[in-house]
């Protein structure tokens, strides 16, 4: 047997990266242009603005103490909104804690999203036909569960996908790998998104793995992996739409890495990004703002203008006002209700505690 030269062994597979719209709002790859009408393009952009306004208002509401837990989405509008835009209402969403925009666009009333942020059980009471779960706090758990939901859809013969999101840090978890590997082994209809926003709190993506891309981790599961410019809404939409079609056709799961950037803090619970990243880096990414380039693109096509944007921003603000007021009017939580929801068939020891708390709550 000859000597094995480890220097010559392949460490970095070739991963395709898709871009359509450049930083100036010009189409750089017309062949990949998704099939969207003018109305749909405007609708997509309006949802991105909605997400931006929601981020800004949520930050303020958090500062005022009117919202609780909040993970900023600033900069990730293309990655989040354009991927959701490619989905069907009956597709099943398993979001992580930063993926509230997709959840609301998928059908969760905004007032419930605010109740989730505040820490109220009403925020997680989902209508029966809402194909989604509340935001997942345990990083990676949504991935193994997505494999199960996808297998369920397949067994029912339903032409839908399960889709889930994690961040760059999340790709280091065991559940991340188990999730994509199970879905692959069962050829289940799942779309796995990795929103690579380059930081897991303070830890840069380079410290998560020696792998050159996160998309290539798909190879370990034997499924396709692809990178997309996550600051480019048209590219995210085009890749997601095509991937969804491929998955629904029974070909198994796909891993999509969106290259994006968290322009804000990790959460509003005391994180200060100035401690771990430079102003230069932030400015470099801020120039890639997904809204700016989409706005330029639509303005060049004469589909959007400043006046329309002002009207829309006001409308979104009004929706947010209404939702937060609604959330604040919801009755206080009861421990007796907590106990009632812990089991379907309530055991005697829990029943005794229900009675105890009902008496306390009646005081």
């Amino acid at each position: 047997m000859g000597k094995i030269d480890f220097n010559k062994l392949n460490k970095t597979p070739k991963i395709t990266k898709v871009s359509i719209l450049d930083q100036d709002g010009k189409i750089i790859d017309d062949d990949l242009m998704p099939d969207l009408s003018d109305e749909e393009l405007v609708s997509l952009f309006k949802k991105m603005i909605w997400s931006r306004v929601l981020n800004d208002r949520s930050t303020k509401l958090n500062r005022q103490g009117r919202l609780g837990f909040f993970a900023p989405t600033l900069g990730q509008e293309a990655s989040q909104v354009a991927s959701e835009f490619a989905m069907d209402k009956q597709d099943f969403l398993l979001p992580a804690y930063r993926d509230v925009p997709q959840l609301v666009l998928h059908g969760l009333p905004l007032s419930k999203a605010f109740l989730w942020s505040r820490g109220h059980i009403e925020g997680n009471k989902y209508a029966e036909d809402l194909a989604a779960l509340p935001p997942q706090i345990i990083i990676g758990a949504q991935y193994v569960q997505a494999a199960g939901v996808a297998l369920g859809l397949k067994k029912k013969g339903q032409a839908n996908v399960a889709y889930t999101y994690t961040g760059d840090g999340g790709t280091s978890q065991g559940d991340f790998y188990e999730g994509i590997n199970f879905a692959g082994a069962f050829k289940a209809p799942a779309l796995f998104f990795v929103q690579n926003n380059h930081y897991a709190i303070s830890v840069p993506r380079e410290k998560q793995t020696a792998a050159q891309t996160l998309a290539q981790k798909a190879i370990a599961a034997g499924i396709p992996g692809i990178q997309v410019d996550g600051m480019d809404a048209l590219a995210v939409y085009a890749v997601t739409k095509a991937a969804r079609d491929w998955v629904v056709a029974g070909n198994g799961p796909i891993l999509i890495e969106t290259l994006t950037y968290r322009l804000g803090a990790h959460t509003l619970s005391g994180d200060d990004p100035k401690r771990y990243r430079s102003q230069e880096e932030w400015e470099k990414w801020n120039k890639k703002d997904p809204l700016n380039r989409m706005r330029k693109y639509l303005e060049d096509k004469d589909l959007w203008n400043e006046e329309e944007e002002d009207i829309w921003v006001n409308e979104v603000n009004a929706q947010i006002d209404e939702a937060i007021n609604e959330a604040e009017q919801v009755e206080r939580q009861k421990v007796s209700e907590y106990l009632q929801h812990t089991y379907v068939d309530t055991p005697a020891n829990i029943q005794a505690q229900i009675e105890k708390f009902q008496a306390k709550e009646a005081e």
């Binding site: 193994v144 569960q145 199960g148 369920g152 199970f182 209700e337 005697a348």
Partner: protein, 325 residues
């Protein structure tokens, strides 16, 4: 009626469940064509097809995540963890996810999952096969934890567990799989999930126990009878929730109690039962609560099992001590 071992009774229960509800799915490592490492699922894939009974990749968290996702799609998953010592790999899905889903979604969803897993000592397994970890899951709100001690209960409890809309951890003691045969009715029947059972009536002292220790306690009771001590043996069957009424009733009746578990003293369920008795029946006690359990070390190397595991002799000695207090 047929005389069955516990493993055959379990297979019969799974067969009934698959037959009566097409949403029931059985999956895990080697449960399909192989019929399980203990033959618990033998013949089921051949009878119901690969859509209903199937193998998974070797990853416990993935298996439990699969169960969670399938439950959200309306299925009734019955996953298997090959040995309960491997629970740690799936602990988030079991105790961080499945147990909480109904609660966290305000009652709008349910998790009708039954997690089956063998455990228990006395059969010289390698590391982390035999550990008694029921205390970990019994401490988790939202789960029910069931441990049968004989073939009749195993079948009836497993059918109840699978029919239950709550998640149930169903623990099967390996030493009970084939050491005991019992008359088990054919067809479907249920044993309630929240009820203990008196396995031997007595007047002088109560032994409260579960799992393989029920059989060991029954043997101890026979020996104690010869010494003129009449022992009542209460089999908890469900370690979460506890059947408080049955526990208090037997203590009120005999006034003396010995709690017996295979788990280490700091683990298991004995402390919870002791606290309940101290809280609600202290005036009925004529002696302190006695406890029989394993030493507080990790589960022993297999050659030391007989030395380490609690047995009939330990139970007899403890009963005598409490009787003579």
């Amino acid at each position: 009626m047929a005389k069955l071992t516990m493993i055959k009774a379990i297979t019969a229960a799974l067969d009934e469940a698959l037959k009566s509800d097409e949403k029931v799915l059985i999956f895990g490592e080697d449960v399909g064509q192989n019929g399980g490492v203990f033959r618990a699922t033998e013949g089921l894939q051949a009878k119901y097809g690969e859509e209903r009974v199937f193998d998974t990749p070797l990853a416990e968290s993935g298996i439990a995540g699969l169960a969670t996702g399938l439950a959200f799609q309306g299925f009734r998953p019955v996953p298997e963890i090959q040995f309960f010592g491997f629970l740690f790999e799936a602990m988030d899905e079991v105790a961080g996810q499945i147990s909480r889903e109904r609660f966290r979604m305000g009652g709008t969803r349910k998790m009708p999952i039954t997690i089956r897993a063998p455990f228990g000592g006395g059969v010289h397994t390698p590391e982390l096969h035999s550990d008694s970890l029921e205390g970990l899951v019994a401490q988790t709100p939202g789960l029910k934890v069931v441990i049968p001690s004989d073939p009749y209960d195993a079948k009836g409890l497993l059918i109840s567990a699978i029919q239950s809309d709550d998640p149930v951890v169903f623990l099967e003691h390996m030493k009970l799989y084939r050491t005991l045969k019992q008359e088990v009715p054919e067809g479907s029947y249920t044993v309630p999930l929240d009820q203990a059972a008196i396995k031997r009536e007595g007047q002088d002292i109560s032994i409260i126990t579960y799992g393989y220790m029920v059989q060991e306690s029954l043997k101890a009771a026979q020996e104690l009878e010869k010494q003129g001590i009449n022992v009542e043996v209460l089999d908890l069957r469900s370690v979460s929730p506890l059947d408080e009424a049955a526990i208090l009733k037997t203590v009120e009746k005999t006034g003396r109690v010995v709690l017996v578990q295979e788990a280490q003293r700091q683990a298991g369920i004995n402390a919870q039962v002791a606290a309940l008795i101290a809280e609600k029946a202290i005036l009925n006690l004529q002696a302190p609560i006695g406890r029989v359990d394993a030493p507080d070390t990790p589960y022993p190397f297999s050659e030391a099992e007989t030395l380490w595991l609690p047995n009939k002799k330990d139970i007899v000695a403890k009963v005598q001590e409490i009787m003579n207090f």
